[in-house]
């Protein structure tokens, strides 16, 4: 193309070309790169399966999650019960499917809560600076100093058991991570030439933050959210294992199911195996996807 022609007139005179098009944005560009990344694709498949199963659990599951059958307790996997049955004769396959629903629901809502709270704190701290920054960052430092699972246990102990409490407890442990991440990005972006240039044309502080800094600080947040979703799923199972999960002990929550099955590790290992496998697959899926996203979204790999 004749783009580096020195004469202004030569190009200016050229009529509008047919190639005038709305070009592919960074997002669709990143997505096509993601699909070419083998591990990320595996992660994407795991996650798609996980989400699909969670949404379609009532359709796919051959039995209800609470449905008990006398007689068929701790059965080994068979055609009728793909993952066998548990102590109360409930179909493990159905329970694992419904468990995906709970993990996904609690995990996604918890991470979104953390993202919003942390994002707000980070944007305020980075955008305003000064004493607001100092106060907010010291608060997040305190939160960060307490081990995550301990903090979650404390919050549940304080607020009592319940689904909402579970989400909140997990969310709070990840707030500081998002807050620091966004604050760091904003501090770096504040010095970048294009933000300074936008300031030079007279854009207000709010506009700089919303239009220039936040969109460019978004990708590390998305990557981090995906990776944290993996740990959140493990956290949910961990809290369930500790007896701090959903208040109803019958709930098909993976951690609760694990703790129930633990006693029969020798006689009926398949229960632990399938439940554990479900946790591992979903956690690894989010991890692989997160790493893949990092690679395909990283602006440093592409200018």
């Amino acid at each position: 193309m004749s783009l580096e022609t020195p004469g202004v007139t030569a190009v200016a005179a050229a009529p509008r070309r047919a190639e005038e098009r709305v070009s592919r944005g960074l997002w669709s560009d990143a997505f096509s790169r993601l699909l070419r990344n083998r591990p990320a694709l595996v992660g994407l498949i795991c996650i798609t399966a996980f989400i699909g199963v969670a949404i379609l659990a009532p359709v796919i599951a051959p039995y209800g999650p609470y449905e008990q059958r006398t007689g068929g307790r701790l059965e080994a996997p068979s055609a009728a019960h793909l993952f066998g049955t548990d102590l109360l004769g409930r179909d493990m396959f159905s329970r694992v499917l419904y468990g995906a629903q709970i993990s996904l629901q609690v995990g996604v809502i918890a991470v979104l809560m953390a993202l919003v709270m942390g994002g707000l704190i980070g944007a305020l701290a980075g955008g305003l600076g000064g004493w607001v920054d100092s106060v907010l960052m010291r608060v997040t430092d305190v939160l960060l100093a307490i081990p995550g699972i301990l903090l979650a246990i404390g919050i549940i102990a304080w607020l009592d058991r319940g689904m909402l409490q579970l989400m909140l407890a997990i969310a709070v442990t990840y707030v500081p991570i998002f807050a620091r991440l966004l604050r760091g990005s904003i501090l770096a972006l504040r010095e970048s030439d294009y933000v300074i240039a936008a300031g030079a044309v007279g854009a207000s502080r709010l506009r700089l933050l919303v239009r220039h800094m936040l969109p460019n600080a978004l990708t590390p947040l998305i990557v981090q959210a995906t990776l944290i979703l993996a740990t959140a799923i493990i956290d949910i199972a961990g809290l369930g294992f500790l007896g701090l999960g959903p208040p109803d002990p019958r709930t098909p929550e993976w951690g609760t199911m694990l703790v129930d099955a633990r006693r029969f590790l020798q006689t009926a290992p398949h229960i632990v195996f399938f439940v554990g496998g479900a946790i591992v697959v979903s956690a690894i899926g989010f991890n692989l996807l997160g790493d893949g996203l990092r690679e395909s979204l990283d602006p440093r790999l592409k200018r």
Partner: protein, 373 residues
């Protein structure tokens, strides 16, 4: 403007150092920018300051190009950004068309932003990767009240054509362009508000040599067509000579010489300018180069030497037998010859003979060093 810049013709000795304030567009008065170094347990104790710009005064005349040269880290980029109030100054004042701008609040600054714009060095870092060319170039007009999408797009297309870009590129993203094209987008953004004054912060130093001249010519054409005034920051002396009417030389946050381009290049008054010019490579291999190699490194701007900042490395001071005055008295910028200002107590001692002798001494010193090493 007195001379056409494109031909690189001399402006002549008409310019005088102290300007009649009538044709002053931008006035810079004892501008200081210190970056504080904080330390201590809570990070609030002030343990020092990097004196990036340390008391600089000059004016930019309407329609001229004032070149600003100096080594990396001498504070020239900081100076440009402080003048535009993109980073806050520590002290001093900047006048735009006679109106002091430090002390104005954000709202009062908005109309002033229309008059002064900036073109950045790095064509990759200066465009928001998440915005299309149309959004980037059209942002200024939008902020300043041009809300109609259609009018804005028309304006952007005009600007793109003006800077030599294809109008159909309006909906593309920065990553789809080359460095030279991106720099043109940056120039279009700067022009969108129809400014009078543009700070060009090393606008070509990140570009391929073949593209450099194109962008320089573009800047030149735009200046003539639109009557722009440039503060042209660069470290490439040849580029500055080509484009400037007057040139300021900076060393460690201070302006050490300010003169019309021809006197400065042919008869520099400050020993630092002499050394700087002697470092320009000679294209004619038959010409013997009088090279003065400065000893040592640039002192840290966090702890600049007392007196004249250049005295620790000054070849002239060495020739004069290290006068005490250089290390104690800070020289002010004064008129050495009509129109030529320099900040050196002994600027009158800078003569072709002295330069010749210093370069010979410098060369023999180097050979001795080579033999020893």
């Amino acid at each position: 403007m007195e001379g056409t810049v494109s031909e690189g013709l001399p402006v002549g000795g008409t310019g005088d150092g102290q300007l009649p304030s009538g044709d002053e567009l931008i006035g810079v008065e004892s501008l200081v920018k210190h970056f504080e170094i904080r330390g201590g347990l809570l990070g609030v104790r002030r343990i020092g300051a990097v004196r990036a710009v340390d008391g600089v005064s000059f004016s930019v005349r309407r329609g001229e190009t004032l070149g600003l040269v100096g080594e990396s880290g001498c504070g020239k980029t900081t100076l440009g950004k402080v003048i535009l109030r993109l980073i806050p100054a520590t002290s001093g004042q900047v006048r735009v068309k006679g109106r002091p701008i430090f002390g104005l609040n954000d709202r009062e600054m908005i109309p002033i932003r229309r008059d002064m714009q900036i073109v950045f060095q790095d064509p990759y870092g200066s465009l928001n990767p998440r915005m299309t060319v149309g959004e980037i170039v059209g942002e200024g007009p939008y902020v300043h009240g041009l809300r109609s999408r259609q009018e804005r797009e028309e304006l952007v297309r005009e600007l793109l054509a003006r800077v030599g870009l294809n109008q159909s590129h309006i909906h593309r993203y920065p990553h789809e362009f080359s460095g030279g094209q991106r720099q043109r987008i940056g120039i279009a953004r700067a022009l969108a508000l129809n400014p009078e004054f543009v700070v060009c912060d090393e606008p070509v130093s990140a570009l391929d040599v073949s593209i450099q001249s194109q962008v320089l010519n573009l800047l030149d054409d735009l200046q003539q067509d639109l009557g722009l005034t440039y503060l042209f920051i660069a470290h490439n002396l040849a580029v500055v000579e080509h484009i400037s009417d007057r040139v300021g030389v900076m060393y460690l946050g201070k302006l050490v010489e300010l003169a019309p381009v021809d006197p400065l290049y042919q008869q520099p008054a400050h020993p630092y300018t002499v050394a700087l010019l002697s470092a320009v490579p000679e294209t004619d291999p038959r010409k013997r180069k009088k090279r003065i190699v400065l000893k040592g490194d640039v002192p840290s701007p966090a702890a600049p030497p007392p007196g004249c900042r250049f005295h620790t490395r000054c070849w002239l001071r060495e020739r004069l037998g290290n006068p005490e005055r250089c290390a104690t008295d800070e020289p002010a910028l004064r008129e050495v010859r009509p129109g030529q200002m320099a900040a050196c107590h002994y600027a009158e001692e800078v003569s072709p003979a002295a330069i010749e002798a210093a370069s010979r001494a410098s060369e023999s010193g180097m050979t001795a060093e080579l033999a020893a090493g």
